[in-house]
């Protein structure tokens, strides 16, 4: 079970990011808990400077723009076992 947070104030890119991550997790059969963080103060507490940001299990892995599919797939790699 992975905890995935997408940080962003609800712009189109943030929604696309959420969709992409859910698709990939579904494909790989990984269970995730998706959380959308839309409060500016909370978003900033992760120390990112561009949105959307992605946090996986408490670790900031991405900031700024929709992540590429490859990059996103790598986040879910090696955890399926």
């Amino acid at each position: 079970m992975k905890n995935v947070k997408v940080l962003g104030v609800g712009c189109a890119n943030c929604k696309n990011t959420v969709k992409l991550l859910e698709t990939i997790a579904h494909e790989k059969g990984i269970e995730i808990q998706m959380e959308k963080v839309e409060d500016m103060e909370k978003i900033m507490s992760y120390g990112i400077m561009s949105t959307p940001g992605v946090v996986i299990d408490g670790q900031v892995v991405h900031a700024g723009g929709v992540p590429s599919r490859q990059k996103a797939e790598a986040w879910f790699q090696g955890t399926a076992a």
């Binding site: 500016m40 900033m44 400077m49 949105t51 700024g64 490859q70």
Partner: protein, 360 residues
């Protein structure tokens, strides 16, 4: 000469070879060289091809319609190719200037030179207005002075590669350079003025309470082929979004090109009307558009005899000041600082309009 190209459908005009299926570009240097050659070749045959297309159509080349069509078939691929090329290169350049690195470069600097740096970095840093707030806070947290942060915030959306390329492609390098120079000047001076008003207490309280951060920059580990991918991604994203505006802009230009322009706007927006510049700014601020969206309007206004300074002031106020951006910024700035920001930037743009109209 026979037309070797298909009629310029908007997306086919670009010089991007199909993206490789492999994860990264196999031979990045070869790829870049080839892409550049293909691009230059295509670009050099644009005039003959556009003439050939018009010749193949049942219209008299010397007629108004013929002239307008040739202009359209030449300008459309030309501007789209320029845009594709520039956006690709800037996409690669942008990959060196992430917001995090920009912040690290600006942190701890004093005002003055830093305003100039911030405005210039605004040109090469990827930025979209939905990121305005995180960026703003990130800068302030790292100890970048408020005025310097504003210089960046003003120049980033206003002076960017899309605006400059479109101005260059449609109106020539002089207008593009003037726009860049004046845009930077507005960003630098406005930021400097805001910095000297000492309004740090006008940040929303939760922003002031945020802990200061140590600036650290991650290793820049991107390879050349990854930068090429970044360039291709920004072409897909930006050119893919912007081309309809460009088409409309050129169509407007073509229509006017073939049919002699009337000095219709000259009396309203000509340089003799002193109130035309403030009017342009007042009309421009509530409008929200990216640089590409304003281009058709700019094209039409200029051709109808509006003064250049007035039109540029209009363009700047549409791009630099917009209601949605102000709404986002309201989350971090108190109304007093927002009002100051708008007033200072609007005055800067006004000044630009007047100076332009007086000099040219």
């Amino acid at each position: 000469m026979t037309a070797v190209l298909p009629p310029p459908s908007p997306m086919a005009a670009g010089a991007i070879p199909p993206a490789p299926a492999k994860p990264a570009v196999a031979r990045p240097k070869t790829f870049l060289a080839l892409a550049a050659i293909v691009w230059a070749l295509l670009y050099s045959v644009l005039i003959p091809v556009s003439e050939a297309i018009v010749a193949a159509l049942p219209v008299d080349r010397a007629s108004h319609l013929g002239g307008a069509l040739q202009f359209f078939f030449y300008d459309t691929p030309k501007v789209l190719m320029l845009l594709t090329g520039v956006v690709f290169v800037m996409g690669m350049v942008n990959s060196y200037f992430t917001p995090e690195r920009t912040r690290a470069m600006l942190a701890g600097r004093r005002e003055g030179v830093a305003n100039l740096m911030a405005a210039s970095l605004g040109v090469v840093t990827p930025f979209c207005s939905c990121s305005a707030v995180p960026l703003f806070i990130g800068f302030v947290q790292a100890g970048v002075p408020l005025g310097v942060t504003f210089s960046f915030l003003i120049s980033a959306p206003m002076v960017n590669e899309v605006a400059l390329t479109l101005l260059f492609g449609l109106f020539g390098w002089r207008i593009a350079l003037l726009y860049m120079g004046l845009g930077l000047a507005v960003a630098i001076v406005a930021g400097w003025v805001i910095g000297h008003l000492k309004m740090e207490d006008s940040l929303e309280d939760w922003v002031s309470r945020m802990p200061k951060v140590e600036v650290r920059v991650g290793e820049d580990t991107l390879t050349l082929s990854e930068r090429i991918e970044a360039g291709q991604a920004s072409v897909r994203e930006i050119v893919g979004k912007v081309w309809p505006y460009v088409l409309v802009g050129i169509a407007v230009g073509a229509a006017i090109h073939g049919y002699v322009p009337q000095a219709f706007m000259a009396s309203i927006m000509g340089r003799d009307a002193w109130w035309s510049v403030p009017l342009a700014v007042i009309v421009g601020v509530p409008m929200y558009s990216n640089a590409a969206g304003v281009i058709p309007i700019v094209q039409a206004l200029l051709a109808k005899g509006a003064a250049l300074g007035t039109v540029l002031a209009f363009m700047m106020s549409v791009i630099a000041l917009s209601l949605p951006e102000l709404v986002i910024l309201r989350k971090v700035l108190k109304p007093r600082l927002i009002a100051t920001f708008v007033a200072v930037v609007a005055s800067g743009i006004l000044l630009v309009g007047y100076v332009f109209n007086a000099v040219l």
